[in-house]
């Protein structure tokens, strides 16, 4: 199906526009749920009777937790597509892996930043060295920063695709080892256990988290779709330029003879 008005040069399509509008509506809905409809996290301490909990800082989790899940979805997709590329060797897999890794890294950065901002009031520290998930996510982020750096080098596209695929796969294979080593390593410190476990998950809290997953999955899909098309266009543009250059040279050769084409002007 081709759009008759596709002369506007964008990476948009009727499908992506519908998804984009639905995503924006979803984000508005999520904001209402996260800031208006849900209650702050306040509990009464069983013995002292004081008010404890995360209070309104819990509203950061409706952003942080879904994005963290999406980060892992994105990086899994990048690794899966990288494996697909090494098997099939077609550009589709490569462009998908690159797009997923780039969008995933944007999400991963935000997960680290929002986690840090949430940790300040709740854990009383910007950075908790003893938290396994936090450290694992940081190492994962750094590995994919390296992946994107490799992607920005001026190597031959197919060489680059192959190398990047190996980097993404090694990153994912390495991840359980990172996780395990940090887990053992942090056992020497007496750190506060994850606060998520003691959060009272009420119906509406859980519902808001679920909506968050769905909305950020839509944000991710929209970004992935457009980023994939950009990658696809990059390949097509490179090819088109080569084809155009060849055509130009041929025209020169036809027009004024071979002598001028090889630079011999008399």
């Amino acid at each position: 199906m081709t759009n008759p008005t596709s002369s506007v040069a964008t990476t948009g399509s009727p499908g992506s526009r519908a998804l984009g509008l639905a995503t924006l509506a979803g984000l508005v809905g999520l904001l209402v749920l996260a800031f208006v409809l849900t209650e702050p996290d306040v509990r009464i301490h069983p013995s002292t009777g004081q008010e404890i909990g995360q209070f309104d800082a819990v509203r950061l989790l409706y952003l942080h937790v879904p994005m963290a899940v999406i980060t892992y979805v994105a990086y899994s997709l990048a690794a899966f597509a990288s494996a697909g590329y090494l098997i099939k060797r077609t550009p589709w897999w490569d462009v998908t892996a690159h797009a997923a890794a780039e969008v995933g890294t944007v999400f991963c950065f935000l997960v680290l930043v929002t986690g840090s901002i949430w940790g300040r009031p709740v854990w009383n520290t910007w950075w908790e060295w003893g938290d396994v998930r936090l450290m694992t996510t940081l190492i994962l982020f750094l590995m994919f920063v390296g992946y994107l750096a490799l992607r920005r080098t001026a190597a031959d596209p197919r060489v680059q695709a192959r190398r990047a695929a190996v980097v993404a796969l090694v990153a994912i294979v390495d991840l359980p080892l990172v996780n395990r080593s940090v887990e053992w390593w942090e056992n020497r410190t007496l750190h506060q256990k994850s606060t998520l476990g003691e959060l009272k998950i009420e119906d509406l809290t859980l519902f808001t988290l679920m909506v968050g997953f769905l909305v950020f999955l839509m944000v991710f899909s929209w970004l992935l779709l457009h980023r994939f098309r950009v990658g696809w266009l990059t390949l097509a543009a490179g090819e088109h330029q080569v084809a155009a250059a060849i055509k130009e040279r041929r025209a020169e050769a036809d027009g004024s003879g071979v002598a001028s084409a090889v630079g011999e002007t008399s």
């Binding site: 750094l142 390296g146 750096a149 080098t153 190996v166 990153a171 990172v178 080593s181 390593w185």
Partner: protein, 224 residues
């Protein structure tokens, strides 16, 4: 299998012969390793008690920095005079080239580890409390980082930005090795009460995965 190992031996002995003749290891990398130990001393205010406590971690950070140099050197040897093409045309199996070049880096790292151990004994006042653990953990870690370093050296080779790309690609992947090796040496040097052997097991697992994955992936990386 026998031919794979003998081909790997050929490559390793070639690289080691080049290093023995050019003396880059003894004239540049080894002094750099000692320099790093001294710099840590300055940075931590030259308090021997503190230095002894952190010696295992500082030791392995110094090893990783030297690894970067050794890997750069290993791929520079191949890119000069297009030696890599010659190596490929020699008809050696890619896995053998990978294992051989990793083995050469491994041997160089062992030399550096010996030197650095002497360094932390002299400068930081450390002492080796468990010689067997020191030896095994040192060997296993050198194997793990040499094979991983070799794989990433191949990934970054031939690119204009090789020198700056290698650290950002390699060091995050080696994070579990740094943690594990530091903990193992905490035990071996008596800096902290941990189970060094459990960590050595994790390091061994990493070494096995890295050598296998590297030997398999290397062929795909150099095929063009």
């Amino acid at each position: 299998m026998k031919s794979l190992l003998s081909e790997a031996w050929l490559v390793a002995s070639k690289d080691l012969r080049i290093e023995a003749r050019s003396r880059v290891l003894t004239n540049q990398v080894a002094p750099f390793a000692v320099l790093v130990l001294v710099l840590f001393g300055f940075a931590l205010d030259a308090d021997q008690r503190t230095l002894r406590m952190f010696a295992p971690g500082l030791f392995w950070v110094a090893v990783l920095l030297c690894l970067l140099l050794a890997v750069q050197r290993s791929s520079a040897v191949e890119s000069a005079d297009d030696a890599a093409t010659g190596l490929r045309m020699a008809g050696l199996a890619p896995a053998a080239v990978f294992l051989g070049k990793s083995a050469a880096i491994f041997v160089q790292l062992l030399v550096l580890e010996l030197l650095l151990t002497a360094g932390i004994i002299v400068f930081y006042g450390s002492s080796v409390k468990n010689l067997f653990l020191w030896l095994i953990a040192g060997l296993v870690t050198a194997l793990a980082v040499a094979t991983t370093g070799m794989l990433y050296g191949a990934l970054a080779s031939g690119l204009g930005v090789r020198e700056t790309l290698l650290p950002i690609l390699l060091l995050p992947v080696l994070a579990p090795v740094l943690i594990g090796a530091t903990r193992a040496y905490d035990d071996a040097l008596g800096a902290a009460a941990v189970d060094g052997w459990a960590w050595t097991g994790l390091l061994a697992m990493f070494a096995v995965v890295a050598s296998t994955l590297g030997a398999l992936a290397y062929g795909a990386l150099v095929e063009d």
